[in-house]
């Protein structure tokens, strides 16, 4: 393993720490959006797929790359859209008016 390979291990370990710390602090309220958000972010494999589909390494590479691009794009587009759709629904005390009004009756 090269020097670069070694440093990549650091990147992985540190990212693992960051992930652990961030995820443990996400409240249960947002666990479903969390799942779909990590899903969308995992679509980053698009980056590898694009190179495979666009470089000139023979027909098989291109076709496999194409399928990979499709699969990854589905995750990116679908994942972000659904996460945003969900988060849009979460509202804080949007209608205190309505309920306090109720109490007054």
């Amino acid at each position: 393993m090269s020097a670069i390979g070694l440093i990549q291990i650091y990147v992985f370990v540190l990212a693992g720490f960051v992930g652990y710390q961030v995820i443990t602090r996400v409240p249960p309220l947002l666990h479903t959006p969390l799942m779909s958000a990590t899903n969308a972010i995992s679509g980053i494999s698009l980056v590898g797929s694009l190179v495979a589909a666009g470089s000139d390494h023979g027909r098989m590479s291109t076709i496999l790359g194409f399928i990979a691009v499709v699969a990854a794009t589905i995750n990116v587009v679908g994942g972000f859209l659904i996460t945003d759709r969900m988060l849009k629904m979460f509202k804080g005390a949007a209608k205190p008016a309505a309920s306090s009004q109720g109490v007054k009756q």
Partner: protein, 461 residues
């Protein structure tokens, strides 16, 4: 040179934006903006990649992006919230598919020239990728009820699985030192695909959420391995984030269900064995059923109501009716809170999204620990399609399969109204004493229609 800086710069920016995006999920008010930042990060990374010098032809890329968008858009916009578990399962399949294919391309290009480290990365990538592909598809099938939700077991299953696993692992190790063995590489992929299937077969449909989360972390590890293989840090980072998320959520679910990982994965639970014990505590006890009119009276005059939603609410899609009822009660001067058990429903946060969809403000939703002390002061606990999460057997009956799982203290409320269709058990397949409690009245029927009737009645009180 400049070009390389731009590419790398875009990856670094994307990594930071992704982390900040996930971090924003720790605070509901900021979550949406954070995720939009993550989207920008993704856009940057994609644009950056298109500058990559190896990319010479764009037609396949554009076709792929277009097709992916065409499929992804409806998956994002029109899938109902109730179908989220299977939606998420299938998306892990897509993620793993992309990782695996990139691994195959990498292998087919460099093949025998891969260093041991690079081969280990590629091997890891296709191994985890492949088993996640089929595993996620099976999970999807079970959740979507394309395949029976029952655990499928056969004699010698464990022996077969172990053998498969050992052979695949052997191939993996062999390939690290002999990366030229192309045939064995594809054999390894084929076996990993089979393992994905056999791994999920014996697990009951109801345990799928844990499996899906676990597959999420596998997909993450496959992404990270891709990053190692093609030397891309943003992939390593996203993979690690993904892996951590999947792993932590599956642990959380197992814990809240008071079960160990191995019990979930090898227990074939939620089906046969437990069902035998189902009727055991029901003997000699009677259920008191109530009418919509009576229930409406109770709710209309209650000062404090705690709503306990469960999986049945999602099945009935009755979230809007719940909110309507709650608003009516509040109009009459009562106070309504929602008690959310960590594993109510079929995925983490299930009840929260469901109620959010119906515009219930999230500060009315209380986690189990926050609200458990308040039940004793509540006039009515309104249990809507929840079962296991309010089963006192978890506290009282050491022989119960859910013994030790923390539950909502519904039985401490002054009155309990339970809405469900019949007496069938919930996910864990066991009888629930609460239904026989003298404080409890059962309002039988589909939650949606019962709630609609309740709304009409309460209006008239």
């Amino acid at each position: 040179m400049i070009r390389q800086y731009l590419v790398e710069g875009s990856y670094l920016a994307a990594s930071v934006l992704f982390i900040l995006g996930l971090k924003s999920l720790t605070r509901p008010e900021q979550a949406r903006r954070g995720i939009q930042q993550a989207m920008i990060g993704m856009l940057l990374a994609v644009v950056g990649t298109l500058l990559h010098q190896e990319i010479v032809r764009y037609e396949w890329i554009l076709a792929g992006l277009a097709l992916g968008t065409a499929i992804g858009y409806p998956l994002g916009m029109f899938v109902p919230m109730t179908a989220m578990p299977q939606r998420i399962a299938i998306s892990h399949m897509f993620g793993a598919l992309a990782a695996t294919l990139v691994g195959i391309v990498e292998f087919s290009q460099h093949g025998a020239h891969l260093s041991a480290g690079a081969m280990a990365a590629v091997g890891f990538e296709v191994l985890f990728g492949s088993l996640t592909i089929t595993g996620s598809f099976m999970a999807f099938g079970k959740l979507q009820e394309l395949i029976t939700g029952k655990p499928i077991t056969f004699r010698g299953q464990n022996a077969v699985n172990m053998t498969l696993f050992a052979v695949t692992l052997g191939l993996f190790v062999y390939l690290i030192f002999n990366p030229g063995a192309t045939g064995l590489f594809y054999l390894m992929i084929a076996l990993a695909l089979v393992i994905g299937v056999t791994m999920v077969l014996p697990i009951g449909g109801a345990d799928m959420p844990v499996v899906v989360s676990l597959l999420n972390s596998y997909a993450g590890l496959a992404s990270s391995a891709t990053g190692f293989a093609i030397g891309n840090n943003v992939l390593i980072i996203c993979g690690a984030l993904d892996g951590a998320s999947g792993f932590l959520l599956s642990i959380l679910m197992s814990k809240a269900m008071n079960r160990s990982f191995s019990n979930v994965l090898f227990g074939a639970f939620g089906s046969g064995p437990a069902a035998g014990a189902a009727k055991k505590s029901a003997e000699g006890l009677t259920v008191r059923s109530t009418t919509v009119e009576d229930a409406a009276m109770q709710l209309a005059y209650a000062r404090s109501v705690i709503v306990v939603p469960g999986y049945g609410l999602a099945v009935a899609q009755a979230q809007h009716q719940v909110r309507e009822l709650a608003e009516l009660i509040e109009k009459k001067g009562g106070e309504v809170k929602y008690a959310i058990h960590p594993v109510a429903g079929r995925m983490p946060g299930h009840m929260n999204v469901l109620l959010a969809e119906a515009n219930v403000p999230y500060d009315r939703l209380y986690d189990m620990d926050e609200i458990n002390g308040e039940f004793e002061r509540a006039d009515v606990a309104l249990v809507i399609g929840a079962n296991d999460v309010v089963n006192p057997a978890a506290r009282n009956d050491p022989s119960s399969p859910i013994h030790g799982m923390p539950i909502l203290n519904v039985d401490q409320a002054k009155n309990v109204i339970v809405m469900k269709r019949g007496m069938s058990p919930g996910f864990a397949g066991i009888e629930n004493e609460l239904f026989y409690n003298e404080k409890t009245s059962m309002l039988f029927g589909d939650a949606k229609s019962s709630l609609s009737k309740l709304v009409t009645e309460v209006k008239n009180v």
